[in-house]
Subunit: 291 residues, 2 copies
């Protein structure tokens, strides 16, 4: 077994598209096998942190939903963009105009929002109305030095009723209209991954990020010096067919493993391969596909 593979001590796990397909009041539907996989990771002694760009609800609210779906998860295990944004706003004396989901607003309760000198945009979902976008645009273009802070830069995500545009698309609209570049808080920002690693107490070379977004999850983690795996559930599954564990195993045996796999399966695979001393070749091939 390769030295680095033996040294893997921590996993960062994306939530939406990996643990569950989000959407609806109940927190969407769990992806088959994922709750069991989380339990097995925790039992294995690997350190685990949930690293999400979820901004449609406070951490308390969406963790409660995930618990309701059978996941062993607590608020203290979650790294999310809103608290990171609040730290940044306080450090720089910024007063935001918020274009976010109603359910995220409580995360900004302690922040002065009078006479805004920046715009914070999150995945506002139904709040991405024509009127609200124009309002955020007018605040931004009216600033002498426009500051746009974006809670992530995802292109889209999958909910139970289909694909939805994510915050990144609306961020691009405001960037273009105001000729500014957004400051991204959340994945794929390096500081965000570093914060998650610090909270876990594991250096990047000893951690693996697992997510369904090639840019926010895989690209961001690699920029940070981590290894990363893209799963075939979530947004990925909408354009491609899933592969079973058996197919993956077969492909692996023939040296044809693709760069993406089903969420629950990849977690089982990581542990299986670690035991079998095969992890290095898989993840190196992974990197070749992704870099």
């Amino acid at each position: 077994m390769a030295a680095w593979a033996r040294a893997v001590r921590g996993l960062l796990l994306d939530i939406s598209g990996v643990l569950n397909d989000s959407g609806g009041e109940g927190g969407g539907v769990p992806i088959a096998g994922s709750a069991e996989a989380v339990r097995r990771i925790k039992a294995s002694g690997l350190k685990l942190r949930f690293c999400t760009n979820e901004t449609q609800a406070t951490r308390e609210k969406f963790v409660k939903k995930l618990q309701g779906l059978g996941f062993d998860i607590s608020v203290a295990e979650v790294t999310a963009p809103a608290p990171a944004a609040c730290r940044l706003l306080k450090e720089r004396g910024l007063r935001p105009h918020l274009l976010v989901h109603d359910d995220l607003v409580p995360e900004f309760a302690d922040i002065d929002k009078t006479n805004p000198n920046c715009v914070v945009i999150g995945d506002a979902a139904e709040n991405f109305s024509y009127a609200n976008l124009n309002e955020a645009f007018r605040v931004l273009i009216g600033l002498e030095k426009p500051v746009l802070i974006s809670l992530g830069k995802g292109r889209y995500y999958k909910e139970t009723d289909g694909l939805k545009l994510d915050v990144g698309a609306y961020m691009k609209a405001l960037e273009y209209a105001c000729d500014v570049q957004a400051e991204v808080v959340g994945k794929p920002a390096k500081a965000f991954f570093e914060s998650a690693l610090a909270e876990m107490g594991v250096p990047p070379e000893q951690a693996i990020m697992i997510g369904d977004d090639i840019v926010s999850d895989v690209g961001g983690a690699q920029q940070c010096g981590m290894r990363a795996v893209q799963v075939r559930t979530g947004k990925y599954s909408c354009q491609h067919t899933r592969e079973t564990f058996a197919q993956l195993h077969s492909l692996l045996s023939h040296g044809k493993l693709g760069c993406t796999m089903c969420a629950a399966v990849v977690l089982q695979m990581v542990m299986f391969l670690q035991n079998e001393g095969m992890l290095q070749s898989v993840l190196l091939q992974q990197s070749k596909h992704l870099v």
Copy 2:
């Protein structure tokens, strides 16, 4: 008087922000002096064509509004994106999913819209809802080879009740989400200006474009080999103070003429300067500012 200045035979005139500030049922409000300026241009013998990215209504409808505001304008004098898009759709056998203003839909009456194989986006205004954007996105991402056609790429424009995001911002959102590049029909596309020049029967070096958008109007015309002037009304006037004809004349005398002027004023200026043989120096200084 310089040779090229004597040779100027045609003017292309933007509409919104130059003739009127749009918005409201009545077609907005005319910009002081613009109706008179149009009459003077026509009386002068210069050829004139209205070159607009207006996509919130059929040509018939917005021309009627402008006539109601006192402008001497007819449908036959207008070059607009929707008819250009229809020609392109027919040539390439494309069946659009439309994300446009309700009032523009009749322009696409002859176009097959069943089983869409492209998305056409215009300034949809209130139709830029969260649901409609997600729908257009799903059509686009579901295509094997996504084709996005955008009726213009303006950043924003001014209506009587304030600044509004233009089609370009939403185009960027879809481009980013689907990793495609839109094909722009309308200003600043070269083919669009060429079509307007052909309809006027004037070569680019003998024509001047006058508009309020530095990219769509001025940049596009310059790319096409025309000279161009940016006015200080419309979207420009929201961030900068206007200058009177007297001020401009004074600045001109001192060689400090800026790159932008008030709509009606610039039209008077063009003719005044042409008579005085001073057009070349002004417009060359213009180019220096803009290139």
